[in-house]
Amino acid sequence: MNYSSYIALIPLLPLAAFVLLGLFGRKYFNQSAGIIATMLLLVAAGLSLYTAYQYFFVNGKVGDAYQSITAVKYTWLTFSENVSIDMGILLDPISVMMLVVVTFVSLMVHIFSLGYMKGEERFATYYAFLGLFTFSMLGLVVSSNLFQIYMFWELVGASSYLLIGYYFQKPSAVAASKKAFIVTRFADLGFLIGILILAFYGESLDFNTIIHNLTTQQSSQFLAITSASFLGVSALTWGLVMVFMGGAGKSAMFPLHIWLPDAMEGPTPVSALIHAATMVVAGVFLVARLFPVFSINSDALTVVTIIGVTSALFAAIIACTQTDIKRVLAYSTMSQIGYMMFALGVSGYGGENARLTDSVGQGLGYTASMFHLFTHAFFKSLLFLGAGAVIHLVHSNEMKDMGGLRKLMPITHISFLIACLAIAGIWPFAGFFSKEEILLAAYNKSMVVYVIALLTSGLTAFYMFRLYFSIFWNKEAAVHDHHHGEGTLSMKLPLILLAVCSVAAGFIHFGNYVSSDGTALASEFHLSFAAAPLALGIGGILLAMWLYKTANDKPERLATALGGLYKAAYKKFYIDELYLFITKKLVFNLIGRPAAWIDKNIIDGLMNGIAAATGWISNLIKTLQSGKVQNYLLYFFGGIAALVIIFIYIWKP
C-alpha cells in the first residue's frame, strides 16, 4: 500500500479528537470522551505499527540503505522563490521509529487516564488536550521542513502549557505552566535565529535540500556559510548552535532545565507522555534530524557533548536528594536525555561497523542515542505511570508518605521494579543495551566523557533504587484501603504492556534499522566492556538497599555528613534562585519598569509638553487678536515706530 494514501491519518486522527472534544466535549461527550479519544488513537497506533512494518521490513530499503521518503508534501506558505514552509511527511528510520514510540506511549497514557482521570470535571478537555499534543508531536517527528518542525515545536510547547496548567485553580500549576512556556520560548528564540541563519545560507527550508546544500563541499551555499563569520565563529556553527539552543530548551538541558521539575504539576499521565517519553526528547530528535550537518561541524558537536554530559551528571546528583517522587523522575529524565545528547555529540557520520579500537568517525553514537531514546520512552513512561498509580493510592507525591506498598499493589510493584532495573542498566533489561552502546561510543571518542557517563550510570542505579525502596519497602504501609488497591484494569494494562516493552526492546538489533546514513550498523557486545557499568550499577543498587530498604537513620546521617554538598544538591544548586534574580530583579526592574516609566513620563510627557507649549503660545498670540480696537491701534503705531527706527538707524543699504 502506498504510504501517501493513509499516512496523514496518523497525525490527523488525534487532531480530530482534539477538535471534536474541544468543541463539543463538555456538552455531549463528558462521559465518553476517554473512549472516543482512545479509539481514535488506537487506530493511529495501528497505522503507525503497520507503517513501521512496511518501512523496515518491506519496502523502506533500496539496496542496503533505508531511504528517506517524502510521502506527503504541499506548500503552505511561500516566502520567496526557493524558501517556503511546506507541510510534509518525511519517512526515514528515525521518524518511523518516533511514530511508533509516540502513538504507542500516547495510547498507553490514554488508556491509563481512563481510570486515573475518572470523575474529573474537565475530563473531555483533558482528552482534547492530549489529542492536541499527540497531533503536534506526530507532526513534529514527520516534519519534512525546518519551519514545519518549528511550528509543531511551538504547538507541543503550547499543549504542554495547557496540560501543565490543567489544574488551573492551583497557583503552583499556573506558575509552572508559565515557567515551562517562557523558558522554552527563550530557547526557541535561539532556534528561530538558527533557522534564519541556516535558511539564509542554505537557500531552502526543506530538510533534504538544506542538508544537501550545506554538506556538499563545493556548493555555493556551503562556501558562503563557512566563509561568513561573526565574532570569529563561522555562520554554520552559529546556525547549528542556535538551533541546538532550541533543542536544549525543549529537552531540559542544563542550564535551560529549570522548567522540567516544575512541570510535574501537571496530571501524572501527562508527565509520562510529554515530560518523559516524547516532547522532552524532541531536542535530541532535532539534532538527529540535522545530524548530517552537525557531523561536519566539530565545534557544534562539542557544544552538544558538553551540554549533554553536564546535564547527565548534574541532574543525577540532584535526583539523589529529592523527596518528591515525580521530581526524582524528572531529574532522572533530564539525566537520561543528557546521555542521548552527548551520544550524538561524540558520534560521527556513517561507518560500517563500530569497533572498540576505532577512535573517530563512526556513527555508533547516533544509533546508540536513538536506541536509548527508544528504550527510555518505555521504561520512563512506565516509571511515571507507576508513580501515578502510587500517587493515586496515597494522595501524595512525597516519599515520606509512602513505604511498604509492594503488597498493596503487586503489579505496580513488579513493573516499577522492571523499569528501575532497565534504567539502572542491568542485563537483560532494555536500558542495559542502549546505555552500553552509548558508553562504547563515548569510550571511542573521549575518556573524560566516558568516565562521567560511567559515574552517572552508577548514580542512576542508586537514586532509582532509593526511590524504589522508599516506595515499596522501607516501612509498613500507612494506607490500608485494600479495595482501592491499584485502580482499574485500564490502569494496570498499560503498566504490564510497558513492562514487557522495557524488557523486549533491548533485544532489537537497533543498528540494523536506525543509523546515521541508513545502512546497517553492526554493534558488538563485549563482556569485558560491560563489566564496569554493570558493577557500578549493582553497587548503586546495593548501596540504596542498605540505606533505604528498612526505615533507619543512616540516610539522615549521610546527609549531615555531606553537609553543604547535600544541601546544594537538595536546593538544585540554586539555579532557580539565579533565574529568579535575573528575571525579577534585573529584567523587570532594570528594563521593564524603566521602559514603562519612560513611556509614561518622558515620551508622553514630551507629547503633552508639545500640547502645553502650543497652548501657551496660542495664549500669547490670542491677545494679539483681542478684538479691541485700541490694542490694534497701539500695535499699528508701535509697528510704525519700530519700522521707522529700523529704516533710519539700523537698515543701511
Binding site: Q169, R185, L196, I603
Partner: protein, 496 residues
C-alpha cells in the same frame, strides 16, 4: 464589480440608522449593514480573484471621475490584492464591533451611526487611487473616533479623546504637507496630479522625495503607533468603548500602515530606501520597548494597547526592510493584528461588562465561571504570542524571514532584536492569562457571573474564524497580496 457599492452601502445604512426608531430597529439595521458589508467584501474577493486570472493590470475595477476639476481631484478608486485584504479585514471587524455593541443603550442611534460612518471612511481609504481622496477618507475616519471616545468612553475620556484627536490631526497635517508636495512637484504631461497610478509611474526627483517622504511617513506613522508618536494609543484605547477600541486598533491603526506603504513607500521608493535605516531603528524600538512596557501594565486594556504598539512595529519593520517577503509580512501583520486585537478588545470588553474591572490583580479564575469568554481570551493571547495555526505566527514569521533576507549585519541585528520580542510577548501574555483567567477566584462576587450571550459569541466566532483561516491556510492570502507587492518591488529592484 462596481467598487462604489462599498461606499454606498455603509452610507445608505448609516442614514437608515438615523431614520428608524427604537434600539431593536437601530441595531438590527446596523447588523444588517455589517453582514451586507462582509458579504460584499467576500464577493469582492471572489470577483477579484476571477478577474485577476484573466487581467493582469495592477489595479482592478478602476473607476475614475473628476470630482473637483480646479484642483484636479478625482474620484479614482481601484483595488489590488493588498487593498482587498484590508477591505476584508475591515468588514470582519465591523461585524464583530456591531455585535459586541448589541446591548448599547446610551445614545444608541448616534453610536451605531458613527460606527457605520467610520467603516465608510475605512473602505474609502483602502479603495482610493487618488491621494487627495485618500486624505479625505482618512479624515472621515478620524472624527467619529473623537466622538466615540469623548461621549461613550470611560475613565479620563475627555483627555484621551482630545489627545487622540490632536495627535491624529497632527499626523493628518503632516500627511497633507506630504501630499501637497507630491501634487505640486508632480509633472505628468505638464500637469500636476493626485493620481496614485500616475504618481507611481512618474516619481519625483530624488531630493524632492527625500524632502517630502518624512512628512508622509511620519504622518501616517502616527496612526500606526510609530515610536515616539505612539502615546495616543494606550490612553485612547483604554478610554474608548469596546467597539471603538476594536475599530481603533483593528482598523484605524491599519490606515496608517497602509498609508505608509501605499503613499510614502509606493510613491517615493528612493526616499524609502534612503530612510530605511531610520525606519528600521524606530520600528525595532517600538517592538521591543513596547513589549517591555506592556510587561509592566496592570490594566487589561493597557496591556493590549501597548502590545499593539509592539505588534504594529512589525508592520513598520516589514515596510522598512523593503524586501518583497518583508512587505508581504507587513500586510499580513496588518490583517492579523487587526483581527487579533479586535478580538482581544472584544473579550476584554466582555470581561469588563461583567466584573466592572480591568485590573489584572482583581480578576482571577475566570475560566471557571465564564469558560467561553476565557477560552477566547486564551486563544487571542496565544495568537498574540505567535502560536502556529493562528494568524500571528504567519505574519510575524513572514516579517522575520523577509527581514533576514536583507543581507548585512545591521539588518540581521535588527531582525534578531525584533525576534527577541517573541519571548517578552510570551511573558506578558502568560502573566495576563495566568492571573486573570487561571488561578483561584479572587472575588466571590464573580462566581455568579454569566458567560457570553449569543451576540458576544457570534462576534468572537467571526473574528476567530478570520484568525484561524489565516493561521491554517495562509497561502491564499499571500497569493492575494503578492502581485501587489511585486508592483512595488519593481521600483525597489536594487534590493534583493
Amino acid at each position: 464589480m462596481n467598487l462604489s457599492l462599498l461606499l454606498i452601502l455603509p452610507l445608505v445604512f448609516s442614514l437608515l440608522v438615523l431614520v428608524v426608531k427604537g434600539q431593536q430597529q437601530v441595531r438590527s439595521v446596523a447588523l444588517a449593514a455589517a453582514v451586507a458589508q462582509l458579504g460584499l467584501s467576500i464577493y469582492l474577493l471572489i470577483q477579484f480573484l476571477g478577474e485577476r486570472a484573466v487581467n493582469n493590470a495592477a489595479y482592478l475595477f478602476e473607476l475614475d471621475h473628476s470630482w473637483y476639476h480646479a484642483l484636479k481631484i478625482h474620484y479614482h478608486v481601484g483595488v489590488d490584492g493588498i487593498s482587498v485584504a484590508m477591505i476584508l479585514l475591515t468588514s470582519f471587524v465591523v461585524l464583530a464591533g456591531v455585535l459586541v455593541s448589541w446591548k448599547q443603550e446610551k445614545l444608541y442611534k448616534e453610536f451605531f451611526f458613527l460606527l457605520l460612518f467610520l467603516s465608510l471612511g475605512a473602505y474609502g481609504f483602502f479603495l482610493s487611487l487618488d491621494v487627495f481622496l485618500m486624505f479625505f477618507f482618512l479624515e472621515v475616519a478620524v472624527i467619529p473616533k473623537f466622538l466615540l471616545i469623548g461621549i461613550w468612553g470611560s475613565g479620563k475620556k475627555e483627555y484621551s479623546a482630545l489627545k487622540l484627536a490632536l495627535m491624529l490631526m497632527a499626523g493628518s497635517a503632516l500627511v497633507f504637507v506630504g501630499l501637497a508636495g507630491l501634487f505640486f512637484n508632480s509633472n505628468v504631461d505638464g500637469e500636476h496630479t493626485f493620481d496614485i497610478v500616475k504618481l507611481a509611474a512618474n516619481p519625483l526627483a530624488g531630493d524632492l522625495q527625500r524632502f517630502f517622504f518624512p512628512f508622509a511617513f511620519i504622518g501616517f506613522g502616527i496612526f500606526t503607533a510609530l515610536f515616539p508618536f505612539h502615546t495616543w494609543v494606550p490612553d485612547g484605547h483604554s478610554s474608548a468603548p469596546t467597539a471603538a477600541s476594536m475599530f481603533l486598533a483593528g482598523i484605524s491603526m491599519k490606515l496608517g500602515g497602509y498609508g505608509c506603504l501605499r503613499v510614502a513607500t509606493w510613491l517615493m521608493p528612493d526616499a524609502a530606501q534612503h530612510y530605511s535605516t531610520i525606519i528600521i531603528v524606530l520600528a525595532c524600538i517600538a517592538i521591543l520597548y513596547g513589549a517591555f512596557a506592556t510587561m509592566m501594565q496592570t490594566d487589561l486594556k493597557y496591556i493590549n494597547a501597548y502590545s499593539s504598539v509592539s505588534h504594529c512595529g512589525f508592520v513598520l519593520l516589514g515596510i522598512g526592510m523593503l524586501t518583497k517577503t518583508s512587505i508581504n509580512g507587513a500586510v499580513l501583520q496588518m490583517v492579523s493584528h487587526g483581527l487579533m486585537t479586535a478580538l482581544f478588545f472584544a473579550v476584554i470588553g466582555m470581561i469588563y461588562d461583567r466584573t466592572h474591572t480591568r485590573q489584572v490583580s482583581q480578576l482571577g479564575g475566570l475560566l471557571k465561571v465564564m469558560p467561553f469568554i476565557s477560552s477566547v481570551f486564551v486563544i487571542a493571547g496565544l495568537c498574540s504570542l505567535g502560536l502556529p495555526g493562528l494568524s500571528g505566527f504567519v505574519a510575524e514569521m513572514t516579517v522575520f524571514m523577509g527581514s533576514w533576507q536583507r543581507a548585512g549585519a545591521f539588518y540581521h541585528t535588527a531582525t534578531i532584536v525584533a525576534c527577541a520580542s517573541i519571548v517578552v510577548t510570551a511573558v506578558y501574555i502568560l502573566r495576563a492569562v495566568g492571573s486573570s483567567i487561571m488561578g483561584p477566584i479572587k472575588n466571590n462576587e464573580h462566581l455568579s457571573l454569566s458567560d457570553a450571550g449569543w451576540h458576544e459569541k457570534t462576534a468572537a466566532v467571526v473574528l476567530l474564524a478570520g484568525i484561524l483561516i489565516m493561521g491554517i491556510a495562509p497561502f491564499w492570502l499571500t497569493d492575494l497580496i503578492n502581485p501587489g507587492t511585486e508592483v512595488l518591488m519593481q521600483k525597489i529592484g536594487s534590493i534583493k
